[in-house]
Every structure is written in C-alpha cells, then in structure tokens.
C-alpha cells in the first residue's frame, strides 16, 4: 500500500465524522508523511509502520462519539461510543451494557411518569365539564395540582439524575482509555 491509498482508506473509514474534522485528521497524517520523506524514509515503509487505517479510524470515531455525548448529552452518542469501544477490544464494557440499558429505561420511565403527573390538572377540567358538583371539581383540582407538583419535582430530579449519570458514564468510558488506572485501582 502507498501513501495515497493509506490516506484514501483512512478517509473512507471515517464515517459519520464531519468533513472539517476529517480534514484536520488527514492533515496530521499528510504532515507525518512529509516529515518521513524529509528524513529519507520510503512510502511503503512508512505505511507499514503507521498501522491499519481501519483501526486508526475506529479509534477516532469512538473518540468523536464520546465527545458528542459529552457536549449534547445525547444517549445515541453514548451508545455509539460504547459500541465502538467494544469494537476496539475494550471487552470489559460488555458488562456495562446491561446496567446501562437498565438505568436508561429507569430514566425514561421517570420522565414519562412526571409528564403524566404534570398533565393531571387537565383531567380535573374534564370533571367540571361532566356536570359534577363544584365541590367534587375543587377536590379533583386540588389533588391533581398536588400530582402536578410531584410530577414537576420528579421531572427536575430526573434531569439532575440523568446529567449526573451521563457525566459518570463518560468518565468511566474515558478511564478505559487509560488502563494503568484500572490496573492499580486497589493499590
């Protein structure tokens, strides 16, 4: 494989990465080749020592999704990063998939519950329309307002909880990039 082929392969494997970032990445490798040539190295030898462009691309993609997840608090990116890391051979993450799915479903159901509670006052209005007594309506309104309050608190709590969880999980993924830490955790 020659220089141009290496660069072409690297580019083609950098899927889902914005064009600007792709160019930044490729320019690092172009510079690498330039310096190597300057030192009198040959194209073939340089390509061989650079390593597999597919593996390099995967690593860059994993980092990209992680960064996305961090910036946008996007669960999709978090999943993508986790899976790309798995592809890189970070097999300890397999054990994290179960807990990750459970926590994400808990977060999701908490959001749904708080949303339902928030709209309960609407049902009280429905009671008024159904020709029930004023007392009954007020009673309903009162309980539903309490419900909405609880829903609001729950919603705020969930936002907080999911933020904390997000930060924690991203830190965990990042710590995987530095296994020395993992090795001597108990020390």
């Amino acid at each position: 494989m020659m220089k141009d082929e290496f660069l072409k392969k690297l580019r083609s494997h950098l899927v889902k990465i914005p064009e600007k970032e792709k160019q930044e990445i490729l320019s690092d490798y172009v510079e690498h080749f330039q310096h190597g040539f300057h030192k009198g190295r040959t194209e073939e030898e340089m390509v061989r020592t650079l390593g597999d462009p597919r593996k390099i691309a995967r690593e860059l993609i994993a980092d990209y999704h992680l960064e996305r997840a961090q910036e946008n608090q996007s669960f999709v990116s978090l999943f993508r990063a986790t899976f790309t890391f798995l592809g890189l051979g970070f097999f300890n993450l397999v054990f994290m998939l179960g807990p990750l799915i459970i926590v994400l479903s808990v977060i999701f159901s908490m959001y749904v519950t708080s949303l339902i509670l928030l709209i309960t006052p609407l049902f009280a209005i429905e009671a008024l329309l159904m020709e029930s007594s004023l007392l009954e309506f007020l009673l309903r309104l009162l309980t539903s307002l309490i419900g909405a309050g609880v829903g609001l608190l729950l919603g705020m709590g969930t936002v907080r909880f999911s933020r904390t969880f997000f930060g924690w999980f991203i830190r965990y993924l990042k710590s995987n990039l530095n296994i020395i830490k993992g090795v001597n955790k108990h020390a």
């Binding site: 990445i25 990039l177 296994i179 993992g182």
Partner: protein, 109 residues
C-alpha cells in the same frame, strides 16, 4: 499487547515528552518508536484526544529545513494530568518489579 494498556502507556509517553518543551507530532512518534515497537499511526488520535480534552494547545510553525510543524504545548491541566499519570505508572511499575523479583527469587531458592 493489550490495546487498552498500550493506549494508556502511549498517553503517558506523549505527556512526559512534552513536559520540558513543545514538540511536533512526527518528533513524538519518532522518539517513542525508538524505544519500542508501536503502530505509529496510533499516536495522532491520542494527541487529538488530549488536545480536545484541553491538555494540549497546538500551533503551526514553519521551519527552514523541512515541512511545517504542528507543535503540541502542554496546558496547566495537561501538566497536572501528566503528574497524575506518572504517579499511577510508578505505583504500577513498583508492583510489577516486586512480583518479578519474588518470582526470580523463588526460582533460585
């Protein structure tokens, strides 16, 4: 060698090499690959990640001899991170050394 382990070690290497002076990408690759065998292309993603995490700032510098160079300069956060990783490495290294010693002693005795 285990991918994760190697990544951790390479991260430590680039941080340590930039402690005293700014260096450009090829220089870093060159220094590290002198010491042990690496896929040279894996250094650039590490440099990129460390830059995005705010441990490095970069600047481009033309040189009279040879192609332009993209230099990596450690930030304050980068220096702290380097120290943290050096500490971790030392603890780890000491442990392995002790185990090797114990293993060899056992063999001989």
């Amino acid at each position: 060698m285990n991918v994760q382990f190697k990544k951790g070690v390479l991260t430590l290497c680039v941080l340590v090499l930039t402690l005293k002076k700014d260096r450009y990408g090829y220089e870093l690759v060159d220094h590290i690959s002198e010491k042990f065998l690496i896929a040279e292309g894996t250094i650039y993603p590490i440099l990129r990640r460390l830059t995005k995490d705010g441990y490095f700032t970069t600047y481009l510098s033309e040189s009279k001899e040879g192609p332009p160079r993209k230099y990596y300069q450690l930030t304050e956060a980068g220096k702290l991170y380097a120290e943290e990783l050096i500490g971790e490495w030392e603890t780890f290294n000491k442990g392995v050394d002790q185990l090797i010693k114990e293993g060899l002693d056992h063999d001989e005795g």
